[in-house]
Subunit: 714 residues, 2 copies
């Protein structure tokens, strides 16, 4: 009776039926510790079957736990914790636990480490040694990175120490849970249920950061609310600091300049007013009572409407130094942002930070560091390095990169930022002759600064995968790794990340790294070719808006940045224009003065050129622009094809997400290309080069598109 009923197709997707397996949802980031192949697993087991890691501090526990977690995951066998030396032991030691260490630790500092394959009493042991336990934790993560990547684990001889002291994330997270320029859900800080409830995500955040060398986090938005300095919010920050401390992550806060007025009714926020200074001193004392290792303050002042010392006719240095005096007794610092431009200053926006800060060089207290964005405008797909780098030799300067991709496709575009970081860090300022790279400015070596730092505006939110997509995780990873060692190449970091995140299999690593490495240049091509900038639609910065021209402040309008007219396009920053090039060292100023010697990638950043200007290729500027738009779109199509080819080698969940996002990216790259061409063609009045397709919609149609719920808009 039943048999005849069962003429049906059995179409059960078994992949969806494994309730006990972890979903590949990206939560584990690059710390996945999935079972390795037999050969790798055997190698790991041979070198990590015993963990000898004396010490009962929280940091030592973190190091042991991570090694246990990692080795167990990778091999399926749990290593033993032992105090007996055994063949294949991982031995974590400091001079305190092992006074006669067989290697030198000089120069490694408190965070660096050495890893060496040695013999102890005739037995092969991998020694991870450091001056302090934080170095051991970093060393443990390094060893695990090699183990996960399938690297050889014998004959090891590694020394590593961070080149830059402060390696921080900046969270632009608001107290109401929203994130300015956040594209991956809301804030991971559950301010409302802190300090009581400390969910497991906080510790995982700290683990992830420690694993790539990040050692601090600014919890709240630079557009700060005073409330973050009230007692309840200090207690909440302290609760987070408690979770992060074992991982070496210090907590910092952004502060609002007028907090003394808003919170306690002071009549002024003048930095030279003694009551104001006393207020901040008391506030610092209050914070340090709750958070003894509090890192310090980050300040956005007199910028984009934020109050600041200039409101009282004082300088940025006056303001920074007053706060620094409050921090000083506690060992805290002040990070003072140089991202300033004033609504009443008609000068080229790109020049204003330099104009404000350069004269203050040498006036800052020794626990102040000035935080400078990588470029002089605002985190564009490409900008020349900020002219302040190399221009303030008596002031420590800190780099501010943006990891969240406000201007590079937001959550869905695959635009790996490693090349952007590398390009900036390797830029030569010529401040002290050739080789005076930005990296040497910020690592302090160029000018002999001991206070050094680098910050990345985080791309972290409540999305299960933390960063809005699997590939966005690579930007967080790259920031951390290149903050530790600014000489790492974007390519090397992409290889590491891909091996950890997907598989060490070259059949995956090679094509994925190839996709990643060209992806940022593709975004430059389809958004802002040839040195264009800030042509994104206003406010949310999502999608093209080169036509926007009616906003109140000139520098709010994309037309301010591209200056396209019937004769040509580009921002003349030479002597005949704003003369911003004079803010660079003479060899660069000279190079940028002439379009022929200006790198073509920065051409329209520095020059207003005729549409018929001949590029190096011989084609006209107009034709070259169109070709670049098309090249950018084609690159995305290429990434899609590459990704399709990886289908057999990537789990279904992560394959599908990337496949979907690449489809979005291609559609939006095409939109960028079409809308930009429709607009600029309406100005240039030139035909498209042969083979280039006309935009399918009218310029008016592109202008009509509105996105009232675009995320991240403050």
């Amino acid at each position: 009776m039943i048999a005849r009923l069962f003429c049906w197709m059995m179409a059960v997707a078994l992949a969806s039926l494994t309730p006990l397996a972890r979903a590949e949802d990206g939560y584990d980031l690059w710390l996945r510790y999935m079972r390795a192949d037999a050969a790798t697993s055997a190698r790991i087991a041979a070198h990590g079957q015993v963990i000898a890691a004396p010490g009962d501090s929280a940091t030592m526990q973190a190091a042991r736990n991570e090694l246990l977690r990692g080795i167990t995951g990778l091999t399926g066998a749990t290593p033993t914790l032992s105090n007996i030396v055994a063949p294949g032991a991982l031995w974590l030691a400091t001079p305190r636990t092992a006074p006669a260490l067989p290697l030198k630790l000089e120069g490694l500092g408190q965070e660096g480490y050495a890893i060496r394959s040695i013999r102890v009493e005739g037995k092969p042991v991998t020694l991870i040694a450091a001056q302090g336990e934080m170095g051991l934790l970093h060393g443990a993560f390094h060893w695990l990175r090699l183990a996960q990547s399938g690297a050889a684990l014998d004959a090891m001889d590694i020394r590593s120490a961070p080149r830059i002291g402060l390696r921080l994330l900046n969270h632009w997270d608001n107290l109401d849970g929203t994130v300015e320029r956040g594209y991956s859900g809301s804030s991971i800080w559950d301010w409302w249920r802190l300090p009581d409830w400390k969910g497991p995500r906080y510790a995982d955040y700290a683990r992830a950061n420690a694993s790539i060398g990040i050692n601090g986090t600014v919890l709240n938005n630079v557009n700060a609310k005073s409330d973050s300095l009230t007692a309840p919010y200090i207690a909440k920050a302290a609760a987070l600091a408690d979770v992060f401390r074992p991982y070496g992550i210090k907590v910092y806060l952004s502060v609002k300049w007028t907090a003394p007025m808003e919170l306690d009714g002071l009549k002024t926020a003048d930095p030279l007013d003694p009551t104001v200074a006393a207020w901040w001193k008391a506030k610092a004392d209050e914070i340090y009572k709750a958070i003894p290792d509090f890192g310090g303050f980050l300040v956005k002042a007199n910028s984009e409407g934020q109050p600041g010392p200039q409101d009282y006719k004082r300088t940025h240095a006056d303001g920074a130094n007053m706060l620094a005096a409050a921090m000083k007794p506690h060992g805290g610092i002040v990070m003072w942002r140089a991202f300033v431009y004033a609504h009443d200053n008609p000068d080229d926006r790109a020049k204003q930070a330099y104009a404000d800060f350069k004269p203050l060089d040498g006036q800052f207290a020794d626990n102040v560091i000035v935080q400078v964005k990588n470029g002089a405008i605002d985190f564009q797909p490409r900008e020349p390095f900020h002219p302040l780098f190399g221009a303030m030799s008596r002031t420590p300067l800190m780099m501010e990169f943006q990891i969240t991709k406000e201007y590079l496709g937001q959550s869905t575009h695959l635009t790996y930022l490693g090349p952007l970081f590398e390009e900036t860090l390797k830029s030569d300022t010529f401040a002290k002759g050739k080789g005076s790279t930005v990296a040497k400015v910020i690592d302090g070596s160029l000018d002999g600064h001991r206070l050094t730092g680098i910050a990345g505006v985080a791309n972290i939110g409540t999305d299960r995968d933390w960063s809005g997509s699997i590939f966005n995780q690579a930007d967080w990873y790259a920031f951390g790794r290149m903050a530790w060692n600014p000489d790492l190449t974007a390519d090397a970091v992409a290889r590491e990340w891909t091996a950890l995140t997907f598989t060490p299999d070259k059949a995956v690593v090679e094509p994925v790294v190839a996709m990643m490495m060209g992806s940022r240049e593709a975004a430059v091509d389809y958004m802002t070719p040839l040195g264009l900038a800030h042509v994104m639609d206003t406010g949310h910065h999502y999608g093209p808006g080169p036509w926007v021209s009616e906003l109140a402040r000139p520098e709010w309008n994309p037309v301010y940045y591209h200056k396209a007219d019937a004769t040509g396009i580009g921002f003349d920053r030479t002597k005949s224009g704003s003369n911003a090039i004079a803010q660079y060292a003479p060899p660069l100023a000279k190079r940028f003065a002439d379009p022929r010697t200006t790198p073509e990638r920065d051409l329209l950043w520095f020059h207003h050129l005729p549409w018929g200007y001949r590029l190096a290729s011989g084609e006209t500027l107009w034709d070259g622009m169109v070709h670049r738009y098309d090249r950018g779109v084609a690159y995305v199509a290429g990434m899609r094809a590459t990704w399709e080819g990886l289908r057999p080698m990537v789990d279904g969940e992560r394959f599908a997400q990337t496949q979907t996002f690449l489809a979005i990216q291609q559609r939006e790259a095409q939109w960028w290309r079409d809308a930009s061409i429709a607009y600029f063609q309406s100005i240039a009045r030139r035909p498209l080069p042969a083979g280039a397709a006309s935009p399918p919609e009218s310029l008016e149609a592109y202008k009509m598109r509105k996105f009232p719920y675009a995320p991240g808009n403050p």
Copy 2:
């Protein structure tokens, strides 16, 4: 050399070291399918070793997949999918696949099912039979519920069909990702990346809802934006509908009355204007083209500032019927909310919905259902049932419960809502004599309506545990189960939920259910004893604010609701007051007219009484209030003690969350008690009863507390 170094304590928490085990983060809700004990596992395996479920539709795949997932998880062995009858098969059949089914399916409808242990060709088989595949899916979930609960699986003979047709969640989710009255993160609808990206959470949402019988979801806030009716947002809703369809979950939208004006520039939104009607008809056609099984519209009109037909001197019926005409050709419905009160109406707010809607009884089109909140004010810890229930016999009325706990402790308080639901559903309206319960009104049986419904305002957000806490999940669960069968008791549902969510072990179930069952009454006690209402602080409704009196509209102020003065406290709704009691059937009106016959739990809802009024216990009203505040706080202390005793039986992660939240609840219950007493004592000017502690802070101190970032505030 090494050995002497290892004088250290090994303090490794092994629980945190199991990288391959699932964290107990609550994501799996009541569908955990954890490995059962040996006896239960054997029983499940004996009855579920073979799944015979013919049919290749998405719904059949969902049923098969769920059974595979569940049985595999519970037993560790994967059942076989087979078309050969075997001992221990689960056989899912409809009349289409098995014309000669050995049981009757009459009366089960398309969603009901029967489960019976039978023999087929001599072999023991569990037959799950239904008229359609959706019934089979529900039956599969029922069987899995029993299996997870450790119930006997032989000699089964079950018939179950939903008593109420529309069992919907109402999401008050905004298009920007925020959730009005949401306390569990942001919206799970990733509007921005829809329709392209359909993350795995959507299917899990549908599974969870289907498992408890929910069959529809209103995606967006009743305070609606017109944009949700634009083409891009219809496409996004359609993408969700595609994911939900196999699980029998229909999609509905809230609509803004003035959408035709806002989106297409119509000059009016008058429901009797033909251009308006034509606009809605075209919009309905557009929606149904994208979502052929679209459920219909939910409308909040002329309420709390929302526009509506009354702006054009038309009635709610005029408005609803115009929309209903647009829905009618497609089989869609209109849910018209009766939650109305007008800023220019000086009458008792509790009377206004009745006054507006009662006269319209019989005037609504047959695809309109009027959605009425459980009480006449707004989701208070306790309200008498809404007088509209039983008062509109010619109009289908739909219940609106609030699952999200706007007024019952928000995310952290353990206040199980099952008893609130049960109390309301069992309330007797006396509309057609004794036994005319609210349940019979909304299931249609009292007045013979075929269109029936119940809605719950969802407590779902992006928090990993969906609902802000493990125990909040019970409210979602209870809503679904009691919507399917309004006769289920809160106690029975709590037992089910606890067994599924924690363990069927009585040593856990009994104390947990005991905690849950008294928890809502405890919140009544520490927030709004003896029939008080709406004394929460204004706006966010977090914490006490009985003193608030200065807001523009009288009914925005808590003093409006409690009317405490030197002589007494309470809202006189008898003839000497607002006479709201006249809106109830005569036997109830008579009962409520006299404080002596009014249930004490509703005393101050209906009566203004002297502070010295004697309660049934003999104590004064004032003393009784104080005792109830104290009783509520004491109950929470008791829950904490109970929970501590469960530590050995609950996993660490869920134990810690509940432990933390109970501590918050006790602190806040105490605050409620202290602040309320401080305020009311300042009015009553009476001493505290013996043994009652004075509030530790001044009334002014309680008034000073401000919560600018309280979540969920629109």
